[in-house]
Structure formats: structure tokens, C-alpha cells
């Protein structure tokens, strides 16, 4: 455990704050307006980086879950649980921004597009993970079970990806505004937004972990008294 647990969330928080104040300039002023989708395309700069953050969070949860079962270190469980929680938050953002984007482009809030369906199912797994924590009293057993679900759940991602792809190709394809090759100005804004969202992700993750640690400490102090 680091000596100053408040430093990493602070550093990433400041970084996220700076990036978040520059990002709107790059998105709305610097990057050009997309020809077909117009202004609606701007949400892409927030939607896709949120999705990246979500997958990063689930991947971290998977890795920490393996480490927990292997080393039985309480901290690994804490990190896994916090990654899943922050991942759930970003997943919610992806779903909301996805629906907002879909409405003007496809004329419907939800069209069962392959990537969005993947996000939705992963979101459900993360929600189940979160619920599992609240429904088990014994903390050690809860940690073990969550680690098992964290591993099983992440292993599901390639299957969901492949299944939703196959499913969509077997059905009438929706017209998808695919950004195959972005012009340099859009690419620049996009990569900046990815960095911004990763900074935000880590700021929230470190903050959440330090909060969880403080809560654990409080619990153990309470039992001492």
C-alpha cells in the first residue's frame, strides 16, 4: 500500500480535468464536421473512448480476479471490484451515448447493432457482478465468488462478440456510419479523447480504491473498539 494513497487519484484527477477542458475545443472547433452525419457525429469522440475505458475496466477486473485466486491477496479483490464498478459506470455512458447517437442517424434509440449489443451484455454481467457483492455476507466467500464470476464473465467477451456479429450478418444489416479511415484532424481529436477518458478512468479507479481501503480500515477499527 503506498504511503500517500491520495496522490494517484489527485494526479490523474488533475490530468483528467485538464484534458476534459481541452477536449471540447478539439472536438467542436478543431475537428471538421463529418459530411454525412453532421454534428451528431461529435458524440463519437465520447462514445468510443467510453467503450475503451469499459473494456479496460473489465480486463483489469479479469486480471485482478486471477491474481486474487492465485495469491489470496485482499487488495487484488479490492482492485478487481473497483475496476468492475468503474467499468459499469463507463458501460452506462456507452449505452446512453449510443442511444443518443443512434436516434438521429438510424432513426431509433436502439437497433441491436453488434457492438452495442456486446456492450449491453457485458453491462449485464458487470451488474450481476456488482449484485453478487451485495448479496453475500461472508466477505471472504464473496471475494472468491466474485473472482470466479470476474474470470467467467470476461471469458465471455469473445463469444458475445462473435455471436452478435454472426447474428447481425444473418439478419438485415443496418446502415452503419462506420469510421474506417478518419481524416487527420478527427484522428487527432479522437486520440486525445481516448487519453482523456483513460485519465478519467484511472482517476475514478484510484479514488474508488482509496475509498474502499478507507472503509475497510474503518471497519477493522470499529471491530477493535
Amino acid at each position: 500500500m503506498p504511503q500517500r494513497p491520495y496522490i494517484p487519484p489527485f494526479v490523474f484527477g488533475i490530468l483528467a480535468l485538464i484534458c476534459l477542458s481541452i477536449a471540447p475545443y478539439l472536438v467542436f472547433v478543431y475537428a471538421g464536421i463529418e459530411k454525412e452525419m453532421g454534428l451528431a457525429q461529435k458524440i463519437f469522440y465520447y462514445h468510443v473512448p467510453s467503450a475503451f475505458s469499459m473494456f479496460l475496466g473489465s480486463f483489469l477486473c479479469f486480471v485482478f480476479s486471477i491474481f486474487y485466486l492465485w495469491k489470496r491477496d485482499k487488495n487484488c479483490d479490492l482492485w478487481a471490484a473497483c475496476s468492475a464498478e468503474v467499468s459499469l459506470l463507463f458501460g452506462t455512458l456507452v449505452l446512453i451515448t449510443g442511444a443518443i447517437w443512434a436516434k438521429p442517424i438510424w432513426g431509433a434509440w436502439w437497433v441491436w447493432d453488434a457492438q452495442l449489443t456486446l456492450t449491453l451484455i457485458l453491462w449485464l454481467i458487470l451488474a450481476a457482478y456488482h449484485m453478487l457483492r451485495t448479496y453475500i455476507e461472508d466477505p471472504v466467500q464473496s471475494a472468491r465468488f466474485r473472482a470466479v464470476l470476474g474470470i467467467i464473465g470476461f471469458l465471455n467477451v469473445p463469444f458475445i462478440h462473435y455471436a452478435t456479429k454472426l447474428w447481425r450478418t444473418h439478419h438485415p444489416e443496418v446502415v452503419r456510419g462506420e469510421e474506417i479511415s478518419l481524416p487527420p484532424d478527427m484522428k487527432m481529436a479522437f486520440f486525445f479523447c481516448v487519453i482523456t477518458f483513460f485519465a478519467l478512468f484511472f482517476a475514478l479507479l484510484f479514488k474508488r480504491v482509496s475509498l474502499a481501503k478507507a472503509r475497510d480500515e474503518l471497519e477493522s477499527l470499529k471491530t477493535e473498539i
Binding site: 451484455i121 449485464l124 454481467i125 458475445i160 462473435y162 455471436a163 452478435t164 454472426l166
Partner: protein, 223 residues
């Protein structure tokens, strides 16, 4: 025969024997599946042609929901007289306990499907006689995948505050890709389309999840 498989077969034998003596799990499951099939008919107007296109979905929803009902009892019966503790105390590989239980659940579900398929055919006026041989493999793979994750989670859900009621919340999200494969391949068989892609998907799902559950099951059984 390697010890692991002898142990697996012993567990399987025990489970099937206790089930066969009462048959209460299977009869409850079959009745529930029958109810699901009948209730689904009320969603559409009587005699609507849509019902035939959704028949594979009805079949799988009925068997999956009834399967959950059966799976939740799979470990609950072991809590009587501390049987689970007894199982843990025996020098049996946790993987063998998992595999034995999983095969038991698979067999129970297959029997259920054999019972429910004719009912579906009668109620929905399906013509599946010539497609039947091609249906066996996708149904078998879907059932194996469902039983694998369901067996793992049924041991887990027993320790939650909601007990068996928590099982669907864990099983269903993970099962979605395999369920999609099972329903789509069923539909493809009925329309005579290609199902190789879906079979590859369900096959990989079954292989990976049986392997993962075999490895992870000891962490679930641990006290």
C-alpha cells in the same frame, strides 16, 4: 479407467439414482416447461404465422427456464443432512464433483427436451420430422454449455442471501451467446440454412466453459 472418471461416474450415478427415485425435479421441470410453451402462445393472436418463426426461441426459453429450476435444486438437495460437507470430505477431485453433477444436469435437461419437443410440435403445428437428425447436435451443445455454467453458478448462488433465486441472475447473462447460437441454429435447421458457424461457436463455448469451470469449481466449493 483413470480415477478421475471413476469418481465422475460415481457422482453422476448417485445424482441420477436420487433423481430417479423421486423424479420430483424432472416432473416439476417438465410441467414448468409446458407452462412456458403454452403461455407463449398467448402473446400472439391465435393462429398467427409468426409463432412458427419464433418456435426455436420458445423451445429454448422453455428449456432454459425449466433448466434453471432444476439446476437450483442440484445443490440445494445436498444441503440436507450436510451432504455437501460429506461430499467435500471424501477424497474426490472437485473437478469430478463438478463434471458428475454437470453430466447429471445435462441428462435431466435432455430428457426434458425430449418431452417438450413433441408438445411444441403439436401446439405450434411444426414440421420437423426430416430436420430432426440435424437438430441433435446443436441442441446437445447448447444444453452442455448451459449445464456447465449453470452447475458452477448453482453451487455459488446457494451461498447468497437470495439462495436459488440468484441463479438466473448469474447464469443468463453469461449464457446469452450460447443461447443465441442455439436458437439461430435451430431456426437455420428448420429453414434448411447453413449452421456450421453457429456450431463452431457453441462447440468453442462448451469446450472453454467446461475447462474453466473444472478449474474454478474448487474455489466455489471451498469453505
Amino acid at each position: 479407467m483413470p480415477l478421475f472418471f471413476t469418481q465422475t461416474l460415481a457422482i453422476l450415478h448417485k445424482d441420477l439414482k436420487t433423481e430417479w427415485r423421486t423424479r420430483e425435479r424432472l416432473s416439476a421441470m417438465a410441467f414448468f416447461a409446458l407452462l412456458v410453451v403454452i403461455i407463449f402462445n398467448f402473446i400472439y393472436e391465435p393462429g398467427s404465422p409468426i409463432i412458427k418463426t419464433v418456435a426455436p426461441g420458445i423451445f429454448w426459453i422453455a428449456t432454459a427456464f425449466a433448466g434453471l429450476l432444476g439446476l437450483s435444486r442440484s445443490y440445494a438437495i445436498e444441503t440436507q443432512n450436510d451432504c455437501l460437507m460429506g461430499l467435500r470430505l471424501t477424497p474426490v477431485d472437485p473437478g469430478a464433483i463438478f463434471l458428475g453433477k454437470m453430466l447429471g444436469n445435462t441428462l435431466t435437461m435432455l430428457i426434458l427436451q425430449v418431452l417438450i419437443l413433441p408438445i411444441l410440435v403439436i401446439f405450434l403445428n411444426l414440421q420437423i420430422a426430416e430436420a430432426l437428425p440435424r437438430l441433435i447436435l446443436p441442441i446437445l451443445l447448447g444444453t452442455l454449455g448451459f449445464a456447465a455454467i449453470g452447475t458452477l453458478f448453482s453451487a455459488m448462488s446457494l451461498n447468497t442471501r437470495l439462495r436459488e433465486a440468484f441463479l438466473p441472475l448469474l447464469t443468463l447473462p453469461i449464457f446469452i451467446p450460447a443461447l443465441l447460437a442455439a436458437i439461430e441454429s435451430f431456426r437455420a435447421v428448420l429453414t434448411g440454412a447453413e449452421i456450421t458457424d453457429w456450431l463452431v461457436l457453441s462447440g468453442a463455448f462448451v469446450a472453454l466453459y467446461i475447462a474453466a469451470c473444472l478449474l474454478l469449481f474448487e474455489y466455489v466449493l471451498e469453505d
